[in-house]
């Protein structure tokens, strides 16, 4: 494992975010099984360290002046690091009326520009283009800010990945792109996604700094990302990083994973990032067991409060679908549902 450059309380904070991610997802799984989650549930079990360790390397502010991050579907932990609230995430998954998108969008597809995150859409690769533009705006305004985004091994095959990242590289925009190699894109293994031996090989093709690390070592992810973030802030341009991890659950909860070879998941369970981090904190004297237990208990309380808030929240009113397509024009309601039918002219 890598050497820790973080202070004791920071190391504990990282532990808190790993715990928070795992426990929120566990509660979401329970809600899913109770049919309270609308649609799919996308777990990051076993790869929480990639999201938490990388986001922790950013400059976080609450006033819209810090760095900006855009997650992929399995980077819930990165949103928590940036300040997203567990209740908001649960409300998103439950399509509640007071979710950040008022029921219009799902899961981690939501934004908070003050805290510094931009939710993804489902079209893979496009966030590389979007975050290239965010990074470009920092460059244009000469702001000391960095944009960071994630992409899965599968989405690295898209044209959007190439167009967005190439533009950022050419412009020397302060963009850090993390390829989260978790071995599968839905059911498709990495061997069917690229002929490269590793994704970080692609960095040379874009003329940028590239590095990869063990994605289940949260501090290794932090250190590698910090270096790239510092480079970007110093005007040295974009970086392409690869974190190697493993998706222990299916693509979503419904996925039976029959395509996974026997024994593969079990092997990766032994490399669980949370258990490894906990063992290291204890072994190297960065934490006592009761401190970690207290953090886990605090998280459990917070997550339970969030679940209560999300469960008791109301659903959106049907006609809320109408507003906000344009800033200055209203969308017409279906005429068959309006009082004006008699007056049609």
């Amino acid at each position: 494992m890598s050497k820790a450059s973080l202070k004791r309380e920071q190391l504990h904070e990282v532990y808190y975010y790993l715990q928070l991610t795992r426990q929120v997802e566990q509660v979401l799984t329970n809600l899913y099984r109770q049919n309270k989650v609308i649609g799919g549930l996308y777990r990051s079990l076993g790869q929480e360290a990639t999201a938490v360790g990388s986001a922790y390397a950013l400059r976080r502010r609450e006033d819209g002046t810090g760095d900006i991050l855009s997650p992929a579907i399995r980077n819930l932990g990165s949103l928590f690091v940036m300040g997203a609230q567990p209740a908001d995430v649960m409300k998103q998954y439950m399509a509640k009326g007071d979710s950040p998108t008022r029921g219009r969008e799902q899961n981690v597809h939501f934004c908070d520009y003050e805290k510094g995150f931009i939710g993804l859409i489902s079209h893979l690769g496009i966030m590389v283009e979007i975050m290239c533009g965010v990074a470009l705006s920092f460059k244009l305004r000469n702001e000391s800010r960095v944009a960071l985004t994630y992409i899965g091994d599968g989405a690295s095959s898209t044209g959007a990945f190439h167009e967005g990242f190439n533009f950022a590289a050419v412009q020397k925009a302060p963009l850090v792109l993390i390829i989260e190699n978790n071995c599968y894109a839905y059911s498709t293994p990495v061997s069917r996604q690229t002929a490269c031996e590793s994704f970080v090989d692609k960095a040379a093709g874009y003329g940028v700094h590239g590095e990869r690390c063990d994605g289940n070592d949260v501090l290794a992810v932090y250190e590698m990302t910090k270096k790239a973030v510092d480079r970007a802030r110093a005007g040295e341009g974009a970086s392409l990083l690869e974190v190697m991890t493993y998706r222990r659950m299916g693509h979503a909860e419904h996925d039976s994973q029959q395509y996974v070879p026997a024994g593969e998941r079990e092997a990766w369970e032994l490399k669980d990032p949370l258990a490894r981090y906990e063992a290291r904190l204890l072994a190297e004297g960065y934490a006592e067991q009761q401190e970690l237990d207290a953090i886990a208990a605090r998280v459990a309380e917070e997550v339970d409060r969030a679940r209560e808030a999300a469960e008791s929240a109301g659903m959106p009113q049907p006609e809320w679908a109408l507003g906000g397509v344009y800033g200055d024009a209203e969308t017409a309601a279906p005429w068959t549902r309006t009082a004006g039918i008699r007056n049609r002219n």
């Binding site: 819209g64 002046t65 283009e129 244009l140 944009a147 190439h162 397509v325 800033g327």
Partner: protein, 362 residues
């Protein structure tokens, strides 16, 4: 900061760093025609709008292929890079999706990008960011999208199937986008300024055959005028037949109207100017007056805007009609290259005259 971007920043919680410097160098001659009281072509009007908006608002910047030192394929941004610098006039890699998506990211941060498509035919490459990301952003509570994607469209210049298209209807179906298609120099300047100042994403279509058309040269007002989006213009008032049209076909319809006036057929021409949102009220008002309507567009027939307009008339003015709504359009093929083929493809003045005579007699 102008009012619009102020609202945007308030909504998104983005602070104004005030670190972008507006250029104070003297305006070169080719963007000073209006100021000097000289007439301008449509291309010059668009160029003036771009220049003046960049001077007015430091958040406005332009991205596109070959727009810097070269000044763009049609020389629209000639001389811009010398005055505004390469941070605000960005020569992009050949990647329409990439830089259109990047424009969205910059718009999130409170900038007002103007994206140039070298030819609008290539906007199909940016269909994904435009329809999925940009058009839905405000509705998704992901923030306003103050950006413009503009470029040359249209046939009649022997450009072949990939430099002559009218791709407006590929986007007309997408809630959240606005579509502008001017037909005069005055409208082109005022509509582009309105588009740049608008907080919603605007696709802005410029007919390349009108760019330098001498008959469109006119002296524009010296003041900082805008032409509001979503409002059509009566190009010619008449009482017998309404022609609903836009772009190049406004002028072809006007030629037809001149010819028809010799037969005492009095044609009204409504220039839509903005296709989305559609100025439905103006269409209905005109149809109620003339009771006969012809929609003319250079775009192909199936799925063209004539179908939508006809349905709106059906919904709101059915009992006013003395004849079926008809259309004159391009044929349903790609745009051919060879002159005899392209002329056959495109709607001609004679087609409009024939259709109007049919309607008048109906």
């Amino acid at each position: 900061m102008d009012e619009n971007s102020g609202n945007q920043e308030q909504e998104l919680g983005i602070r104004d760093t005030g670190e972008i410097l507006a250029t104070v160098l003297e305006k070169p001659e080719h963007v000073r025609n209006t100021q000097d009281g000289k007439p301008v072509t449509m291309l010059e009007a668009i160029r003036e709008a771009l220049w003046e908006e960049m001077e007015r608002d430091p958040n406005v910047f332009i991205m596109g292929e070959d727009i810097g030192v070269y000044g763009g394929a049609f020389k629209m941004t000639e001389g811009f890079i010398d005055h505004f610098g390469e941070n605000r006039i960005i020569d992009t890699p050949i990647s329409e999706a990439g830089f259109t998506g990047a424009a969205a990211g910059a718009a999130h941060m409170g900038l007002r990008p103007v994206v140039e498509m070298q030819f609008m035919d290539f906007v199909s490459c940016a269909y994904e960011p435009l329809t999925n990301y940009i058009a839905t952003s405000r509705w998704r509570h992901a923030g306003a999208m103050p950006l413009v994607v503009r470029g040359p469209v249209g046939g009649g210049v022997r450009g072949g199937p990939f430099h002559s298209q009218n791709p407006e209807m590929a986007f007309f179906h997408t809630p959240g986008l606005k579509i502008v298609y001017p037909s005069t120099a005055r409208d082109a300047k005022g509509l582009l300024k309105a588009a740049i100042r608008d907080d919603d994403p605007v696709l802005y279509f410029e007919h390349k055959k009108l760019y330098r058309a001498p008959f469109l040269r006119e002296v524009l007002p010296k003041d900082d005028y805008v032409v509001p989006l979503g409002k059509s213009r009566t190009h010619r008032a008449g009482k017998d037949i309404s022609i609903i049209t836009y772009g190049m076909m406004v002028h072809e319809s006007a030629k037809a109207a001149d010819e028809l006036s010799r037969d005492n057929i009095d044609v009204e021409i409504i220039d839509l100017r903005t296709l989305l949102p559609l100025d439905e009220d103006a269409i209905i008002e005109s149809v109620k007056k003339t009771n006969r309507v012809l929609v003319v567009h250079e775009d192909t027939r199936t799925g063209g805007i004539a179908g939508e307009i006809s349905m709106r008339i059906n919904e709101r003015a059915f009992e006013y009609l003395d004849a079926p709504p008809l259309r004159v359009t391009a044929i349903d093929t790609p745009v051919p290259y060879s002159p005899p083929l392209e002329d056959y493809y495109l709607p001609q003045v004679s087609d409009i005259v024939t259709a109007c005579r049919y309607l008048a007699k109906y």
